[in-house]
């Protein structure tokens, strides 16, 4: 609570400070905050600029500001154009509920994103950090129960997987809207890993935000050569008791790690693709619990307890209590090295059989009072400029979800220049080692099964 309050206070200060400076939609470079770039605007005309915190000037190609051809306007906006939505959004405040466990991501949102949205579109972005998606689901659910179907307290949420499915099934989301966003033209909707969120069809109820892939993190000063695959990792854990841990599922990262072990124990993920199948699950899960219980005595604290969260896991790794960390973000280790939290010798690796990858999204609750503003924010997050800024290791290092092949040539060239952090694997190596996520019911079943069969045993 305290943290939320402080952040809101900070946001308020930022908002007040920014408000005095520039009227919205004014000329470029009027904001005193960032390094402004005003080049190439002569030919391109309506230039949209961003306060770019990567240091140094960089060319900024044009961005589209009309809805993709043939896209139907979202509900409540029938017959309107993107310009109408922009006009309505001007002056709205968007309460963005998102996982707040990373200072880096938080400051990217409250800094670069909030500032730019405020300047370009007159939309106020109010970031509300939470620790778990169920917090906002409960909130929207509570509002629905109380009959507050308009002007709800949440306008935009960072969501994916089982939480998206839960919200869709309880009719808590507004839609469909995401294919109407001008920036959605850069999204390859034919890619099944984008059009489906953990196997559940997106159907325009959420807009892609970024891509993520699971990686293991280690310190070369402690472990010279990381295990090549999961079998080797299991050997390593047994040979080095007390030096390995994984966050307790349903923690997001811990759950992903568990699935790797389960894929391995099942001899591959293939049998589990598609709809949930109880019989297949039981057969595969039994082998997985056996393996996880087999390594339990060799874990940190002999497996008597598990780190509560990924944040606690980071502390364990940074303090040298464990030798491996893990992240569902290939660039996070580099960011932590840059921040000085992890040693310079930190590196990442993927298993030979691959690691799980997915797409994350933003969605709008059905009772948001600032839907136009929320769509503008979602569109901005998907814009080449934001996607590129987000990909910088110093800002966040999230994998872009826009397909570079669909971008204008000038942007394609820029995307090629995105620097890679010291600890981050090359994009090609990541891409060559990608495993799919399972549909949400599989995840829930594995998470519950883990609690009953591993934790409570």
């Amino acid at each position: 609570m305290k943290k939320i309050f402080l952040l809101m206070l900070m946001l308020l200060l930022v908002a007040c400070g920014g408000g005095e400076e520039t009227p919205v939609d004014e000329a470029d470079g009027a904001d005193g905050g960032g390094v402004e770039v005003t080049e190439g605007g002569a030919e391109t005309g309506t230039e949209t600029e961003s306060g770019d915190d990567m240091g140094g000037a960089r060319p900024q190609p044009d961005q589209i500001e009309v809805a993709p051809e043939g896209a139907a306007a979202p509900p409540q906006y029938e017959g309107q154009t993107w310009d109408d939505i922009l006009a309505e959004a001007n002056g709205q405040t968007v309460n963005f509920y998102m996982w707040g466990g990373s200072d880096l991501i938080n400051s990217w949102i409250t800094g670069y994103v909030a500032d730019d949205i405020k300047r370009q579109y007159g939309v106020e972005l109010n970031m509300v950090p939470i620790s778990d998606a169920t917090e906002y689901i409960n909130k929207v659910l509570g509002e629905k129960e109380a009959g507050q179907d308009e002007d709800g307290s949440i306008d935009l949420v960072w969501v994916n997987g089982e939480n998206f499915r839960t919200m869709r099934q309880a009719d808590l989301l507004y839609g469909n809207w995401s294919q109407f966003l001008p920036s959605s033209a850069y999204v390859n909707w034919d890619d099944p890993s984008v059009a489906n969120d953990f196997g559940f069809p997106v159907d325009g109820y959420e807009a892609p935000y970024g891509k993520a892939q699971f990686v293991m993190i280690y310190d070369t000063a402690r472990v010279a050569e990381p295990p090549a695959d999961i079998a080797a990792l299991i050997e390593w854990i047994k040979a080095n008791p007390g030096q390995f841990a994984y966050p307790a599922p349903p923690d997001f990262t811990g759950s992903a790690f568990m699935r790797h072990i389960c894929y391995h124990a099942a001899g591959g993920y293939e049998s589990m693709l598609g709809e949930f199948d109880q019989a297949v699950f039981e057969a595969n899960a039994a082998a997985c619990w056996a393996l996880l219980n087999e390594i339990e005595p060799f874990l940190w604290r002999e497996g008597a307890t598990y780190p509560e969260s990924r944040t606690q896991m980071q502390d364990l790794f940074a303090n040298g209590e464990v030798s491996f960390d893990m992240a569902y973000n290939p660039a996070e280790a580099s960011s932590l090295v840059e921040n000085g939290r992890y040693p310079q010798t930190t590196r990442t690796f993927v298993f030979e059989e691959g690691t799980i990858a997915n797409t994350h999204y933003v969605a709008i609750p059905y009772n948001s009072g600032s839907k136009a503003g929320a769509m503008v924010v979602a569109n901005f997050l998907l814009s080449p400029d934001a996607q590129m800024s987000k990909a910088q290791p110093a800002n966040w290092g999230d994998l872009p979800v826009v397909d570079p092949a669909l971008l204008p040539l000038a942007w394609q060239a820029l995307f090629d220049t995105i620097p890679r952090g010291t600890a981050t694997l090359p994009t090609e190596e990541l891409a060559a080692h990608r495993l799919p996520e399972l549909q949400a019911p599989w995840l829930t079943a594995f998470e519950q099964g883990w609690v009953e069969n591993v934790l409570e045993q």
């Binding site: 169920t134 409960n138 629905k144 839960t166 309880a170 008597a304 307890t305 040298g320 934790l455």
Partner: protein, 272 residues
């Protein structure tokens, strides 16, 4: 005069409680009525029994240790001495500090790579973090108990000290004249005098530690966890079907605490 305050309490507290009751019978907002049977499911789950035992253990040990230390401290502090005012102020300084802050302090201090472990490492007492005893995230809830003792000792000590100071030393002087030794004076004079305050504050501390959530979440092991933490986990379960169980568990905790309050009222009424 009491009506407005009572109305607020009844509306907010009673409203929340009745909503929880309705949901514990199987109503899930946005989904409708479920099967019910949440109470049975909660009470028969293996996690419930172990969590109940752990919670009773934490509350019981914290209260007992705090009570003993509180009496000792109060006996020490009531004697006239130099700098008494300063020591008493020092004694009370942790009263306004929130439990959450205390919990984080304990975490920094006694975790296996924490402050004490680092001092131990500096003096060569421990080599790797695992050499330091596991005091947090441990199955016995030692870190949690440490935090509660740190906080509750002062709370109870202040109450006992206040009683001792009102009573004065006359009774003890009489007892000493009649030939009572130190132990007898404590057992037959002081203890009966401070007993009511000690007992009622013990019940308060016990009820608080039984229902408190933040410290066990911060310092407790993943399994078993304290009952309020278990309720929170059920409440934040991604499966909305777990909601009735979360509510049922909350009601069970509320009932146990209600019983404790009834005992407390009984005890305090019996004294006056």
């Amino acid at each position: 005069m009491l009506a407005p305050a009572l109305a607020v309490v009844l509306f907010l507290f009673g409203g929340g409680l009745s909503l929880a009751l309705v949901q514990s019978w199987g109503y899930v907002p946005g989904v409708g009525w479920g099967e019910g049977g949440a109470y049975w499911a909660v009470l028969t789950a293996p996690a419930f029994g172990r969590s109940l035992l752990l919670t009773l253990w934490i509350a019981g040990v914290s209260t007992t240790v705090s009570a003993v230390l509180a009496v000792g401290l109060a006996l020490l502090l009531r004697r006239p001495m130099r700098g008494k005012r300063f020591i008493t102020a020092l004694f009370q300084f942790n009263l306004p500090i929130p439990h959450l802050v205390g919990g984080i302090g304990i975490l920094f201090l006694v975790t296996q790579s924490g402050f004490l472990a680092r001092i131990g490492h500096y003096f060569g007492l421990i080599e790797v973090p695992a050499d330091f005893p596991a005091l947090v995230y441990d199955p016995w809830g030692i870190g949690i108990i440490l935090e509660y003792v740190w906080k509750s000792t002062i709370f109870m000590g202040v109450i006992v000290l206040a009683t001792l100071q009102t009573v004065g030393e006359d009774y003890e002087a009489v007892a000493q004249n009649l030939g009572a030794n130190r132990w007898q004076r404590f057992r037959y004079v002081i203890l009966p005098l401070i007993w009511p305050g000690l007992l009622s504050s013990s019940i308060l501390v016990f009820a608080f530690t039984f229902g408190a959530f933040e410290v066990p979440l911060l310092l407790g092991s993943r399994y078993p966890s304290a009952l309020p933490v278990l309720a929170y986990r059920l409440y934040t379960d991604v499966d909305l079907g777990a909601r009735p169980e979360a509510m049922a568990l909350s009601i069970i905790i509320a009932v146990i605490m209600g019983l404790l309050i009834a005992v407390y009222m009984r005890v305090t009424r019996g004294i006056r």
